[in-house]
């Protein structure tokens, strides 16, 4: 059961990571990163590490996404526009 859940969570995280890296819309790539972090929270719970899971939820998902969102707000949403 654990193995199956781990596999599913990995699929979720890899999809999130791909969104985070390849999307041109920076807002979506921040969302992608928070998907990866959420997946990691689940993984840490599966791995009997509730402390790490709580930390990742508070810091990785909440604080990390907020920090990046503030960045996106200032730098503009579209990656392409900046690279021209």
């Amino acid at each position: 059961m654990i193995g199956l859940l781990a596999l599913l969570l990995f699929a979720w995280m890899i999809a999130g990571a791909w969104v985070a890296i390849s999307q041109d819309d920076l807002l979506q790539s921040v969302v992608g990163l928070s998907l990866v972090s959420l997946g990691a929270v689940g993984q840490f719970f599966l791995l009997q590490a509730p402390d790490v899971a709580l930390t990742e939820a508070a810091i990785g998902v909440a604080a990390g996404s907020f920090v990046l969102l503030m960045g996106v707000r200032q730098l503009g949403r579209h990656e392409d526009k900046e690279l021209k």
């Binding site: 508070a58 810091i59 920090v67 392409d80």
Partner: protein, 259 residues
């Protein structure tokens, strides 16, 4: 990126990068699958776990984080402090008057939200304090609780137009708790009973394990960490938010050295 030659160049570069990453991936995967799957038989973690009862902390991760590897935690808090200081510098406004209205969204927040956040605020603070104080008994502790407290202040800042976050006070809390951490360490060094930096110099009888007042200095240090992390994350959030809404790139250009 519509011109054909450019697109072609990008393609080739991407292909090469993919090949490079794929090759490295295969190498790592092969090595780790071949040699990395069996967990080590006797690790220092197991030895620490076996001795964990000495600290009288029910949460073994907490006793490792705060006591056995408390030096790492001190360093980690320092990195956060550095980052908070740096962000205060680069978003550049923590030295001005405290009474400035935070610049948030253009329209005033609606009444429902203000009331809701005012109600939620004490609950979140309480939850944060609970998580910090019970760090040695249950999952959670200074970092997680500190971030929860910071989030409470941050929500209030976002939604409640009457709410101010005093930067001087946040800075004071930051430096008090940080110095407190180092002083606890130095007390451990100077008292004959422990004589090591960060030693657990308060009595921590094993019989008390599981009670709120147990484990000697561990809960005290974790509370200091909680206050420090809370203050720093709140400062980071506050700094990032307050100038976030303004579009003043031109204005900044005009006065390069604001100090």
């Amino acid at each position: 990126m519509t011109a054909v030659p450019l697109r072609k160049r990008v393609r080739v570069k991407t292909l090469l990068l993919v090949l490079l990453c794929g090759w490295l991936f295969a190498v790592h995967l092969g090595l780790l699958l071949q040699y990395g799957l069996d967990g080590q038989s006797a690790s220092m973690g197991d030895a620490l776990l076996a001795r964990n009862a000495e600290t009288a902390s029910a949460n073994a991760v907490t006793s490792v984080v705060v006591s056995y590897r408390g030096f790492d935690t001190l360093g980690e808090v320092t990195v956060l402090f550095l980052a908070a200081t740096g962000i205060g510098l680069f978003f550049g406004r923590r030295d001005r008057r405290d009474s400035e209205v935070p610049e948030t969204a253009g329209s005033p927040p609606n009444e429902m939200m203000v009331t809701g956040v005012r109600l939620l605020f004490p609950v979140l603070i309480l939850l944060g304090v609970y998580v910090v104080v019970h760090g040695h008994l249950s999952p959670g502790g200074g970092f997680q609780g500190g971030v929860i407290i910071a989030t409470a202040f941050f929500l209030r800042l976002l939604a409640d137009p009457d709410f101010r976050l005093s930067h001087t006070r946040v800075g004071l809390l930051e430096s008090l708790s940080g110095s407190g951490f180092v002083i606890m360490g130095l007390l451990g060094l100077s008292l004959a009973g422990t004589a090591t930096f960060l030693g657990n110099f308060l009595p921590h009888p094993v019989a008390d394990m599981g009670r709120l007042l147990s484990a000697g200095v561990i809960p005290i240090i974790y509370c200091l960490v909680g206050v420090k992390v809370g203050a720093e994350v709140a400062a980071i959030f506050g700094d990032m938010l307050e100038r976030g809404g303004e579009h003043e790139a031109a204005q900044v250009k005009d006065k390069p050295e604001a100090e």
